[in-house]
Amino acid sequence: MSDRLTVLKTYKLYVGGKFPRSESGRVYEVNDSKGRWLANAPLASRKDARDAVVAARKAFGGWSGATAYNRGQVLYRVAEMLEGRKDQFVREVRDAEGISKSEAAAQVDAAIDRWVWYAGWTDKIAQVMGGANPVAGPFFNLSTPEPTGVVTVVAPQESSFLGLVSVLAPVIATGNTAVVIASERFPLPALSLGEVLATSDVPGGVVNILTGKTAEIAAPLAAHQDVNAIDLTGADAGLARELEVAAADNLKRVLRPQAVDFSADPGTHRLTAFLETKTVWHPTGSLGASGSAY
């Protein structure tokens, strides 16, 4: 008997930098495209969502206050760590989505490159989106983009890893913190990503990953008064509408679902969707009272 019995992984949520089981104590069965059992995933509850928001809010000050250079280094570190664990993700994506190994590899490669893309954006977005405004008066006037705050991300249902990375990385690149609801059917790559983030210098709470029934987890998050924005990419039309209505209660910024080709150039709109523009004024003209000032 040379076949060794493999050690299976217990997949857990990723919240506040820790790996808790669901507060509900429940899991659900995750199968591959042929219906074979892959693992059990935690069935996150409203309370897990609540805890995730608390963790994300707690992490917001530090992460948004970190230098853009530092955030870039951290995101690049994620790419580095993924590169080393590529085989695992290729396998998980292939198993989940039922695609070929080479297709899965292409997706994982693209996902790693996406982290690199956004790593480079952290210290450029303020220059591209902000700047001095030439107001008609003796004032210095500067607009700067700032992160919106805690963002709920309803990750794409189909693209379990490239799609997930494509929606998550831009949210945190600018200093937001995220509560991610992973693809309901394909949650395992997301949970594994949590393990990578935990070892990539991403501070605990910056990314929180929940798995389970998208609609059940998303509802309390869309209504949560301490969540500032919601990305509805992974919600179907009906759910998206419901969540947008709930989000109106505290005027969350809403990114509506739209057809996305995750292999295409991502552009900047996912970065800018979760930015606020702050404009600061200050008087100039204090050179002197002897004429040079007026």
Binding site: P283, T284, G285, S286, G288, A289, S290, A293
Partner: protein
């Protein structure tokens, strides 16, 4: 000097600490406030009141190397009787001349009530030994000056030697005897509003009866903003000590419109208590004729012209 300030003037360092602890001045905000008050629209009865008040606040001035007794006598006559066509016109507050012209001026204004003010302390530069400056003052006072307009030592001020500035003012005040002392900062040379505020407090603590913007001899003289700032200083000083001090913008105020704007600054900053020639003056010469022409316009309804006011 109010006793409250004995500690402040105890030493160089206490004085410096006090002056540098005064609230800062934001230039843009100050100028915006002055400009905003400048948009007040003063019409009809209010304008008539303001014109007469402004005339009564003028220190009618001649400070030229070419001043002669004849010129000074003409100035005195004009101060006493600004508009020969209307004897109801108020007299100016004073005439302002160099020390050697004080006696002539005194004779010219007689017992009209018009005061004679004399610049002193090596006006306008103030670059002379203290004894020379004090001698200048004593001579003017001896010749009958009712008021002395001194200049501060801007060099000492800008070098950070506030105590010298303070002590010179004290000494001049003493030399003034009963004459009222106006302290000229030459705000254009102090350059920053923070400096103007500090100079105001040095002057007020040292016993100035008036604080005055300028000599009229440099590029920038009285402006609405620096006058507003000095009005804030005398307002705050009275609130703190109960002692009221006058303000005199000088140089560059030539039109009725400008003068009225300054009166609005007085009214809405220091307050109505300062709306009196005892507490507010204009250091000016050509302003008077413009006020007189506007006064004639209000009386007759038609615009006046320069040939209907006297040129002296």
């Amino acid at each position: 000097m109010p006793t409250a300030f004995a500690d402040v003037t105890a030493s160089d360092s206490t004085l410096r600490r006090f002056l540098h602890g005064l609230p800062g001045v934001d230039a843009v905000g100050l100028e915006a406030r002055a400009a905003s008050l400048g948009t007040r629209s003063i019409k009809t009865t209010a304008k008539a009141y303001a014109i007469d008040l402004a005339i009564s606040m003028i220190d009618l001035t001649t400070l030229e190397g070419a001043d002669t007794p004849g010129k000074v006598r003409a100035l005195g006559a004009k101060a006493v009787n600004p508009d020969p066509t209307d004897r109801g016109t108020p007299r100016t507050a004073a005439v302002c001349v160099y020390p050697d012209m004080v006696a002539t001026a005194k004779a010219a204004v007689g017992d009209s009530g018009v005061k004679v003010a004399s610049v002193a302390t090596a006006f306008p530069a103030g670059r002379a030994a203290i004894d020379v400056k004090l001698g200048d003052v004593r001579e003017a006072v001896a010749a009958g000056a009712d008021e002395i307009d001194m200049v501060i030592d801007r060099g000492a001020f800008l070098a950070g030697d506030y105590m010298t500035v303070f002590e010179q003012i004290r000494a001049v005040k003493e030399a003034c005897g009963t004459a009222r002392l106006k302290v000229i900062f030459e705000t254009g040379e102090l350059s920053t509003y923070d400096n103007i505020r500090r100079a105001s407090w040095i002057g007020m603590i040292a016993g100035a009866d008036f604080i005055k913007t300028s000599t009229g001899k440099v590029g920038v003289n009285a402006t609405p903003a620096n006058t507003l700032l000095m009005l804030e200083a005398v307002r705050d000083f009275r609130a703190q000590t109960g002692v009221q001090i006058g303000v005199k913008p000088a140089g560059g105020i030539r039109s009725t419109k400008d003068a009225v704007k300054f009166l609005v600054l007085v009214n809405e900053t220091a307050g109505p208590d300062w709306l009196d020639s005892h507490w507010f003056r204009f250091g000016a010469s050509s302003l008077l004729n413009d006020l007189l022409m506007q006064r004639q316009k209000l009386a007759t309804g038609r615009y006046s012209g320069p040939d209907y006011v006297t040129v002296d």
